[in-house]
């Protein structure tokens, strides 16, 4: 846990330093007063100082024996479910522009329900169809929300 907090705080420090550098590329003041870089510059500076302070206090914290058993990243069966959600969402986003919402969501729903442990084919089929074609119909026809139609016409 402590190691995880140190890494996360380090990442936030890096983010603040990057924002500090980027804000210096913008003008901090102009003839009317503060420029576009003014607010982000001071924010990034304060953020970097806070991150350094947090790094020091976390580093000084006494080691907790329970920390060794605490895992930050998911593992075991829960870890597989976690990975399935992330990987399928990423795959869905990548292919949706080409395949369109309906086809991409049909495959996504079926794969996700299976990955979460469902094995009855008819439930998988109902979820896949309702969650893709059904949702598309409801949102585009009743709620006027535009959803992607892919290059292959779905």
């Amino acid at each position: 846990m402590r190691q995880g907090r140190l890494i996360a705080t380090g990442a936030m420090l890096a983010f603040c330093l990057f924002a500090l550098w980027q804000s210096l590329l913008l003008s901090l003041t102009d003839r009317l007063g503060p420029g576009p870089g003014f607010f982000p510059f001071w924010l990034a500076l304060i953020g970097a100082a806070l991150a350094v302070g947090l790094l020091i206090t976390t580093f000084r914290e006494p080691a907790d024996p329970a920390d060794a058993e605490t895992r930050i990243m998911p593992h075991g069966a829960g870890g597989k479910r976690w990975l399935a959600i992330v990987a399928l969402l990423a795959a869905l986003t990548m292919v949706m522009e080409f395949t369109g919402f309906r086809i991409a969501m049909l495959v996504f729903n079926a794969a996700l329900v299976i990955a979460m442990g469902e094995r009855r084919w008819w439930i998988i089929a109902v979820f896949a169809v309702l969650g893709s074609y059904g949702v598309y119909y409801v949102f585009t026809t009743w709620l006027d929300v535009l959803l992607p139609v892919g290059q292959i016409g779905f």
Partner: protein
């Protein structure tokens, strides 16, 4: 026209069939989402935003507000039946509510929770009607310096009450503010941190970020855990007995006062009033030993305070434009999506909208009572929905919501990215609420500060010349100084209270 006249006009609109239908749909969907373990009101409100894309602004806000209340009540059902709080505020309800369920009194626990929520919600809305307009009128005298100071004070109160580590909470606020800087500079229109990416010119979308941080992150956390087992409760007798009702009159009254007063303070969060109301009841009770073992007063006080808080939290949003919790920030996002800026000008520029929405709070609370008492058994059945179905359903809404607002797949990537970030931050115990509030307040804060400095010719001394701004800026200094240098004995005292 006075508040009462405006409110009556608001009722006339809120009781029209279509706004009534939106409120009903919001209450049903909110309760449904609140019942599903792992999804709190913030996640519920965020993932259901796409349903309101095509509604008019008043209808959209009525529906989202009803979702918010519904989700708050839905969380009670999981607290009582499976000892899993649907949201943080229901933690206290678990203590006696679940004990009651184990004794076969789940129906009474859920019934008194619905009645207490209704009374607390309605009385808090009455107080909102009385307080909101004078507060908004007062705030109309504020200039940019006062608004900047008000936003800083609001954010610092959220930071102060966000968690154990004040430095981590402050850092999260700054990170949220820095994310809010992405896009076009609100004063000069210059692009900032866009790196030539066209999608970033409009800034990071609030909807995909909250859907990621709440919806996706909560699903990722839930995917790791095993589902809790539900108690097979007898839910036919959902009305508490006369004696139980008599016992709860005092707790409901005190819970309303505690919930409303604390709801006015940005950053307090729903758990503080529920916990405080519970502790007060335990202290005033002649038989405090019953608390923790199924005392109905414990459920009544906590649930009343919870709903009174939820309604009172609308006061800073509507009158000052300050969201006091992540869920209220999501609602503020919904206002902004619909082209409305909450704050003191709202009562002048959009009186029809604001009073219809306020009237709908009364209607929504009544609908929740009518829905929840007889339908407790039906809601309880929803707890048996397997995680695989819930996860798939929620993710469909998240993808549609993130994409639908701007028809941008980039926003779906943003949602996924923030989902993973939210998961990690929660596991590492970094508070998310300050970052969400900072993200939505960031552009307004910057605009207020820069306008103030343009007026003063770049001098910060202007804050010393304006007593209201100075007083407001003193609040965060005191809060943060107290939290950084407070005596350690206070922490020990607080821990012993919770135990």
């Amino acid at each position: 026209m006075d508040s009462l006249g405006h409110l009556l006009q608001g009722f006339a609109a809120a009781l029209s069939w279509y706004y009534l239908a939106y409120a009903l749909a919001g209450c049903v969907l909110g309760t449904l989402i609140g019942v599903l373990p792992g999804l709190g009101p913030a996640a519920g409100t965020a993932i259901l935003i796409p349903l309101t894309f095509n509604l008019d602004a008043t209808g959209a806000i009525i529906m989202l507000s009803a979702i918010y209340y519904g989700a708050m009540y839905g969380g009670t059902i999981t607290s009582v039946l499976i000892n899993v709080p649907g949201e943080a505020a229901s933690v206290v309800t678990c203590i006696d509510g679940h004990a009651m369920a184990r004794q076969g009194r789940a129906g009474s626990a859920l019934g008194i929770a619905a009645i207490g929520s209704f009374v607390g919600g309605v009385l808090a809305t009455v107080a909102l009607v009385v307080v909101a307009m004078p507060l908004a009128t007062l705030a109309l005298k504020f200039g940019p310096a006062e608004f900047f100071a008000l936003m800083v004070a609001g954010l610092c109160l959220v930071v102060g009450l966000a968690g154990k580590n004040i430095v981590a909470a402050l850092l999260m606020t700054v990170i949220g503010l820095l994310f809010a800087m992405i896009g076009l500079d609100p004063v000069r229109g210059a692009p900032r941190f866009t790196f030539g990416v066209e999608e970033l010119y409009d800034g990071i979308g609030f909807v995909p970020v909250v859907m990621g941080l709440f919806g996706v992150a909560e699903l990722l956390l839930a995917a790791e855990k095993r589902q809790a087992r539900m108690i097979e409760a007898e839910l036919k007798n959902w009305m508490p007995t006369r004696q139980e009702m008599r016992d709860c009159v005092g707790p409901i009254g005190r819970g309303t006062v505690v919930g409303f007063v604390l709801g006015l303070i940005p950053g307090v969060g729903a758990i503080v009033p529920t916990f405080m109301a519970y502790v007060i009841e335990k202290r005033v009770s002649k038989t405090p030993e019953r608390f923790g073992k199924g005392a109905i007063e414990g459920v009544a006080s906590a649930e009343t305070a919870n709903n009174a808080y939820a309604n009172a939290a609308m006061v800073p949003l509507l009158a000052l434009g300050i969201p006091s919790s992540p869920t209220i920030a999501v609602l503020m996002g919904a206002f902004i999506i619909n082209g409305i800026t909450p704050g003191p000008f709202l009562f002048q520029e959009q009186p029809a909208l604001v009073w219809t929405v306020i009237a709908s709070f009364f209607v929504g609370n009544a609908l929740l009572l009518i829905l929840n008492l007889p339908l407790v058994g039906l809601w309880a059945k929803l707890l048996k929905i397997p995680f695989s179905y819930m996860c798939t359903g929620v993710l469909i809404f998240c993808v549609v919501g993130a994409y639908g607002l701007k028809q941008s797949l980039f926003d779906v990537w943003v949602m996924l990215g923030f989902g993973i970030i939210g998961y990690l931050l929660r596991k590492l115990d970094f508070p998310i609420a300050p970052a969400i509030l900072a993200l939505i307040l960031g552009p307004m804060m910057e605009k207020s500060l820069r306008t103030t400095l343009e007026i003063s010719g770049g001098s910060f001394a202007i804050f010393l010349d304006r007593p209201v701004a100075l007083a407001l800026l003193t609040i965060p200094v005191i809060v943060i100084a107290f939290l950084l240098f407070k005596p350690r004995s206070l922490d020990k005292l607080r821990e012993s209270d919770v135990d």
